[in-house]
Symmetry: C2
Subunit: 285 residues, 2 copies
């Protein structure tokens, strides 16, 4: 049932990144995932992540990816309040923590349904998360994104396929929004794409804004959860490739949270804060 609702959401999303119809499908999908998961067992995991506890949903001996017990909400009240606010473009009425929890519940809920219903399918949760975050940005900013931009070339036309680009218009910044469920080594691509945009359009024109779900990994033998992070490499990329303006996580990894306080400063924030600071970012504050 949630899988069908996911396909409905994708169909609407492909018509328009920011339509009311897509928002409605998203709400239905979020609630259906919760309903499905409410009938499954929850298995506590051993958390090796300081200050966080995790569990997995379980069905026929199959375990989902680790779910942050503090962020995931077992009832759909939070999703309902968030989606209503999203529809009426008043998400900032909600505190950032509540936005983060509602978005985490929608993204993680559907991912867990896929973990239980399909075998080794990483692509569907990844695509869903990408579309989900794009839809939220499009609604908040009131803009349809692009995924290809022209590149100046003296001899012949050239264009570059990109992640989501939100262009706020003349004398306004443009958001460059890569979206990943988790990053690992592949994250260097994000900085490299930002470098190309900076090189072609000049520094500061595109605000590099990376959105991620989590960096947790479940060791199936001991049922232990760890966070896989490469903060030393992120700092090298931020110093020598390009500068990302923000990194938003639904479940902020401890090692990346600390990058807010060292040099080079990388601003890693809980996802819900985007909605509250979006206006300031647009004003390039």
């Amino acid at each position: 049932m949630p899988i069908t609702l996911y396909q409905d959401f994708v169909a609407e999303f492909n018509k328009s990144r920011m339509s009311d119809a897509a928002t409605a499908r998203l709400a239905a999908l979020g609630e259906a995932s919760l309903t499905y998961l409410s009938g499954r067992d929850q298995r506590d995991l051993i958390s090796r992540v300081q200050g966080k506890s995790y569990f997995s949903f379980e069905e026929n001996g199959k375990l989902t990816r680790p779910v942050n017990a503090d962020l995931f909400q077992n009832t759909s009240d939070g999703i309902g309040r968030f989606v209503d606010a999203l529809r009426e473009v008043r998400v900032t009425d909600l505190p950032p923590e509540e936005i983060t929890r509602a978005c985490y519940t929608i993204a993680m809920g559907f991912s867990c349904v896929v973990d239980l219903k399909k075998q080794g399918d990483q692509k569907t949760p990844g695509t869903f998360f990408e579309y989900f975050v794009c839809h939220l940005f499009a609604r908040q900013l009131g803009i349809e994104p692009k995924t290809r931009i022209d590149v100046l070339n003296l001899d012949r036309p050239a264009s570059l396929p990109t992640d989501w680009i939100f262009d706020l218009g003349v004398d306004q910044p443009k958001f460059h929004l890569p979206v990943k469920t988790s990053t690992r080594e592949r994250v260097i691509q994000v900085w490299a794409h930002q470098r190309v945009l900076d090189g072609v359009y000049g520094h500061g024109r595109f605000l590099g804004t990376l959105a991620c779900l989590a960096e947790t990994k479940l060791g199936h033998r001991k049922l232990e959860v760890v966070e896989i992070c490469l903060p030393g490499q992120w700092r090298i990329y931020q110093l020598f490739i390009a500068q990302m303006h923000r990194v938003y996580y639904l479940d902020v990894p401890n090692a990346y949270e600390r990058l807010n306080h060292v040099f080079p400063r990388i601003r890693v924030r809980p996802f819900g804060e985007f909605f509250h600071e979006a206006q300031d970012l647009c004003a390039m504050a």
Copy 2:
């Protein structure tokens, strides 16, 4: 049998990147792969690549990756001559085309054995190719490579994991050698790593040298071979991220060969030419 010889090669390679023992294991592996494949059927494929023809080895209905009929040698004479020359550091006695054919036969031969003997194993051919190319560079340059280098940092020590780095010493260039069986979108990582090296050590200190096997793809339904290339993106990376000094292919894709003749010029060469121009590259000619 070739799989065991592969493990022997890896064991020697892990002791020293450039030992005679590793070269001997490589020769044995190359010959054993040919012997194994000589007992298999060859199935002609429909080539959609201009000027090249391809076939697959076949066993129990399983097809290997596409093999370039002009580059692959069915007898081990060429491998023997190349390995003898490699041992005696006189590879340049052989013409570049013969070097390329011998290396193609070794790399592709073992990859095809893995395609037939294992199910969906991309990792073993990838690792073998990486070690194989590293061994050839190490023997030719007479240097053990590194895979981690220090990065200047005012506050605390930092180091960067890298592809193979060959450091020729004071006032000499250093080779930055990423190795890939094929590239696709992930290739942006190669330019991004080069950018970090340029940023940390200054432009021109590291010669970016990418080594690849091929960019062929076999469509299993129609048994058609195509080359998957992104030349427009390579040009953008070369303009706006960093400059790769050479790209060597065992089977040079047509679309990348043309990059030798447009702006920005990217020097894409058959692999065998490395040995002939290595001395000039070291002299930064």
